[in-house]
Symmetry: none
Subunit: 143 residues, 2 copies
DNA sequence: TAACTACTCATCCTAAAGGGTGATTTTCAG
DNA sequence: CTGAAAATCACCCTTTAGGATGAGTAGTTA
């Protein structure tokens, strides 16, 4: 969170710098002020979209809560294997046949993170490949 | 999607209106230009956040739930899909999590042949990846 | 506050998978 | 016997997956 504030502050600072520079340009070249306002608008809109997705979107995730487990079958949970929630999400998307990039897009994280989750997943499932992980997960009835 | 574009267009229009109004205020009252730019920045940032949350929400998964599947299992054969015997063998070994090389060793053929079978398999299953093929094969209950 | 866990992102490198094309041999039905 | 389908193998190229490693952030708990 501290970093978020820092980044936002820096962004604003940069923005002010740009504004000052634009003001100078305005005085010198007398371009229409709408151009600068429009530029600011575009930049801030993009920044807002980025911030919104980055720091607010996570709260609205419909996370698959571990409490909602099947009632009757007392099969083991993914938690019993030390698999975290996020890793389990990745596993579920893997089972749908998605590539790492597609999983990344789906979860709004980078492909690097997906790979990290996948690697941890393979270790915890004691497998070496994606298809093995899926086979084992089905065998363990955790998906 | 059309609605998104429409709303975005309206937003931009409103924004331009605000800008014009601000320009007028600027001329009349001669307040520092930074104030208006800052206001634009704030407004656009908020708009961006709203847009980001509203229209770039996490994509909903097109879950192929087993409940939707007909109650009476269709139980089609792999032959109905034009999948040959050898291709089906490869598919079964894929489902076990074997790599192409391991499948080749298992069937006493070269890895090139396995890849060929795999490619034909993907075409006949109308998929693009190994994991997709496995998902679809399970969905069709042919493995 | 310190420790711990989960999550995130990154780079470098290797291995595996996949697309496209072409070719030869086997098998089998017409 | 002949043509079609199946099976086999190969090469080139691009994309994807995976391993190893390092690092930063957020939240929780001792």
């Amino acid at each position: 969170m501290r970093k978020s504030i820092l980044i936002y502050g820096i962004s604003v600072a940069v923005l002010i710098g740009i504004m000052k520079w634009l003001e100078y340009r305005y005085v010198v070249k007398s371009l229409p002020v709408e151009a600068y306002l429009g530029l600011i608008a575009v930049i801030c809109t993009g920044l807002g979209i980025w911030m919104g997705l980055k720091y607010m979107q996570r709260k609205e995730l419909t996370t698959i809560s571990p409490q909602v487990v099947p009632a009757i079958p007392p099969t083991i949970s993914y938690l019993d294997l030390g698999i975290s929630e996020r890793e389990f999400e990745v596993l579920q998307l893997m089972a749908k046949g998605l590539s790492n990039q597609e999983i990344a897009d789906q979860l709004y994280i980078s492909i690097h993170t997906v790979k990290t989750h996948a690697s941890n997943l393979y270790q915890k499932l004691d497998v070496k490949r994606r298809t093995q992980a899926l086979q084992k997960a089905q065998e363990l009835q955790i998906i």
